[in-house]
């Protein structure tokens, strides 16, 4: 009896010990990203070409107090006060933001896109409610951050950050007020790398201000949370010894002013009209049928209204609206043609008995509901490579802006094409085609994933030439994932990739002449 009790105790405690001993915590790949240590401070960035700002000094920033003034002495005392009593939470905040404000805000954006990337549930009558920016807290929450919405959101935030940092760098070199840790030897550079970059106005505060302001347009229910993050970023900059209170105040005000230009553009860029009306939606069908084609219809039950059918009319960043039309490819094969039949047969052949590797490829690139979308996936790819490049904050912003303007504009051309041809999905023409991820609720030709990926790989290959081959093969894998997943025909994919590359080339044209090379 006794030995049995012992055996029972040993087995029980072994299992308990195993359970407690094996820690399950997971950590993000960028949780321990190193503090920024720019190879080049890009001190000439005040002369780079902004996206919207007319000039780098469009918004005035008053001259700062001298470093020997009593006002500045008070600023230094505030920093010293924090540094005397730094908690481990403070240190964690400093470390988090020291990896770069553009990186962290990009990650926060991807988190928000994932959070809001959910399609509304239907009404009792089988129609669907439309998210309403005037009543964002009611169901369905605003926004529904689907791929075109997300692509535009990333672009606006990135472009606004870029312009705001150009203005920031302009005043940094104009006033040339050193960082607190340079002015006073009793102020430490805590958790950050010392540089000769002037501190006034603070780039951290510029980013906090410009981003918080942009979110009012893009994620209105998150303003309170974003405001808190902005304050954490600013406080981290002060506690680290990188910025004085007056650097922060001036920076945040500048950032918010620059954001106003982008918000004004965003309110009139046609995105607000992208949803359309029920008669608009029927009209697409009528047009397709008048051309003798089978029109697209929603494969959801009940049938859902098409996703942002007028997103193709949104004003692009890299070219004008006439160029959108000129970039639109020729028509797909007729829905009744043998060519279309054989395109769909190929999809069916792939989907019939998928291998594990094929499913993995589909899953890797699916980027469907509840994710940061294909544009967000390319932001992740770019961000994790940029971390290794030792960019300055302003170069981070410039490269992210180029990437995201390319992604948004690729989305515009792609959407314009989708609704111009209103071409059905493979599964609509052949219901035997079951899919390895959800079928997006918009017409087939041309593939969105392919368009986004072609644009992203092209501009990223220019920005990080040593990775150009990698980006190319990634964009090919993304493109093929849609064919082997049963979502698109090969033609949808190859034409989409080509359109994306052409859009990417516009981003390269801009990059070659923006003064940053």
């Amino acid at each position: 009896m006794k030995t049995r009790i012992w055996l029972l105790l040993v087995v029980t405690s072994a299992i308990t010990g195993l359970s407690i001993g094996c820690k399950k915590s997971i950590s993000d790949r960028t949780a321990n990203a190193p503090s920024l240590q720019p190879d080049n401070l890009d001190l000439n960035a005040g002369t780079w070409k902004p996206v919207l700002l007319y000039r780098a000094d469009t918004f005035a920033v008053a001259a700062p107090a001298a470093t020997n003034s009593t006002a500045y002495a008070a600023d230094l005392n505030e920093i010293k006060g924090y540094q005397h009593n730094l908690t481990s939470d403070d240190a964690q905040q400093i470390k988090y933001w020291a990896a770069g404000g553009v990186l962290r805000w990009n990650e926060i954006m991807r988190d928000l896109v994932g959070k809001y990337n959910l399609a509304p549930y239907q009404n009792d009558d089988g129609t669907y409610p439309i998210p309403n920016s005037a009543n964002p807290f009611a169901y369905p929450q605003f926004p529904f951050s689907n791929p075109p919405y997300a692509g535009r959101a990333y672009a606006y935030v990135s472009a606004a950050q870029y312009d705001a940092l150009i203005a920031c760098w302009y005043y940094k070199t104009k006033y040339n007020r050193a960082a607190p840790y340079k002015v006073d030897s009793s102020v430490q550079a805590y958790g950050i790398n010392k540089t000769d970059l002037p501190a006034y106005p603070s780039e951290a505060a510029v980013l906090a201000g410009v981003t918080a302001e942009m979110m009012k347009l893009l994620f209105p229910t998150e303003i309170a949370n974003i405001q808190q993050l902005a304050q954490q970023q600013e406080l981290a900059a002060i506690m680290s010894g990188a910025a004085a209170r007056s650097d922060i105040t001036a920076g945040e005000a500048l950032g918010r002013q620059v954001a106003q230009q982008f918000i004004a553009r965003g309110r009139t860029d046609n995105a607000g009209k992208a949803v359309g009306t029920p008669s608009d939606w029927t009209n697409f069908e009528t047009i397709a049928m008048s051309k003798g084609e089978i029109p697209w219809y929603s494969l959801e039950v009940p049938k859902r209204n098409p996703m942002l059918p007028f997103f193709g009319n949104v004003k692009p960043f890299l070219f004008d609206s006439l160029t959108v039309i000129s970039l639109r490819p020729g028509p797909p094969p007729s829905t009744s043609s043998d060519e279309m039949k054989s395109q769909n047969q190929e999809v069916y052949n792939y989907i019939k008995n998928p291998t594990r590797d094929q499913i993995a490829q589909v899953q890797y690139w699916a980027d469907g509901i509840g994710t940061s979308t294909p544009p967000g996936h390319w932001n992740l790819i770019a961000a994790e490579d940029f971390i290794k490049k030792n960019y300055s904050e302003v170069r981070w912003a410039r490269n992210m802006a180029l990437l995201n303007m390319a992604l948004m504009d690729a989305g515009i051309v792609c959407w314009n094409t989708k609704y111009y041809y209103f071409n059905p999905r493979p599964t609509q023409l052949d219901p035997n085609i079951k899919t390895l991820t959800g079928i997006p609720n918009f017409p087939s030709y041309i593939s969105g994933h392919s368009s986004f990926s072609g644009a992203a790989a092209t501009i990223l290959g220019y920005l990080v030439p040593e990775n150009a081959d990698k980006y190319n093969s990634m964009s090919n894998a993304a493109m093929m994932s849609r064919l082997i997943g049963g979502i698109h025909t090969r033609l949808d994919c190859t034409v989409g990739l080509d359109v994306g590359k052409q859009v990417g080339n516009y981003a390269i044209d801009r990059a070659e002449t923006d003064g940053a090379n």
Binding site: C22, K115, Q363
Partner: protein, 290 residues
């Protein structure tokens, strides 16, 4: 579990109070069916016309050997296939998890006219194949490697018995095919932390020479995890809870006691982030006596 309800009710299970005698070796297979057209999205019971009825079927090979009257080892491996009757999502199929259990009966003593037995069961299960876990509800499993510890108490009075059993299941993290995912926040990693689980059951029934018939209440509670958001897809680390009611029987052929037939059915009565499944199973086993 979940939408995939791995419903275990074969001849001998890790959670019943039946032991093989020394040098008895039981071998057999059970066919299992789970089907639902409603599920709980968090606590909200709903249907989904883009899924229709989700069926998960499996055939499970099971073996159980009596090292002694008090110590049994068990192993099982199911082949699982899924299908959605509506919508466009592709079904999946494949071998799922190999399970190994060591079942130990340290105590058995008389109390009045009845008899009380206590059992301890150690379990281990792991996927035999790198199957797709990130395509719920059509995935065939959740992909974690599990270690479990179970305590079971059984009371028998004449032909009547009641069993109460509870297991703590420690689950390893799992890996997705993608590099980031959203739970209640975005994670930039392919690794997912799986909350542990508590599985309990209460059985009441009759136990005769050739027939065991019982009613079972089964509870599965996930110790952590999160709810499916409104109109989102399910995810491996969801908080999957359920309470099911089952009827089950095992019959040994009186004229040829090497053969056992098992069968039963049940229903998930309440749940959270799982399908409201109708369940049934039927199996046949052959027992060698060495």
């Amino acid at each position: 579990m979940l939408m995939i309800c791995f419903y275990q009710a074969e001849a001998q299970t890790d959670f019943d109070a039946i032991m093989m005698k020394k040098k008895q070796w039981c071998n057999g297979a059970t066919y299992m069916y789970s089907g639902w057209d409603h599920y709980w999205e968090g606590t909200l019971n709903r249907n989904n016309q883009n899924i229709g009825t989700l069926t998960t079927q499996s055939v499970m090979y099971m073996t159980n050997y009596g090292i002694s009257d008090k110590l049994n080892v068990m192993a099982s491996l199911p082949y699982v296939w899924t299908h959605a009757s509506a919508g466009t999502l592709h079904g999946l199929k494949g071998f799922q998890d190999l399970s190994l259990f060591v079942k130990y009966k340290p105590f058995s003593f008389d109390v009045g006219k009845g008899k009380i037995s206590l059992f301890a069961v150690g379990g281990f299960s792991t996927p035999v194949d790198n199957y797709v876990i990130d395509f719920l509800p059509l995935s065939i499993g959740l992909g974690s490697t599990n270690v479990s510890g179970r305590i079971t108490a059984d009371y028998q009075l004449g032909i009547f018995f009641t069993t109460i059993s509870s297991a703590y299941v420690w689950r390893s993290n799992v890996k997705l095919d993608r590099t980031s995912y959203y739970t209640t926040e975005m994670h930039n990693t392919n690794e997912v932390e799986m909350p542990d689980m508590l599985n309990s059951n209460l059985n009441i029934g009759i136990r005769k020479k050739y027939l065991i018939a019982e009613a079972i209440v089964q509870n599965m509670t996930t110790l952590g995890g999160f709810d499916i958001r409104r109109n989102d897809m399910p995810f491996v680390s969801n908080k999957m809870n359920s309470t099911s009611v089952l009827l089950h029987a095992k019959y040994t052929l009186p004229f040829y006691t090497h053969i056992e037939i098992t069968g039963g059915g049940g229903y998930v009565v309440t749940g959270r982030n799982v399908g409201q499944a109708l369940l049934f199973d039927i199996g046949a086993y052959y027992i060698f006596h060495f």
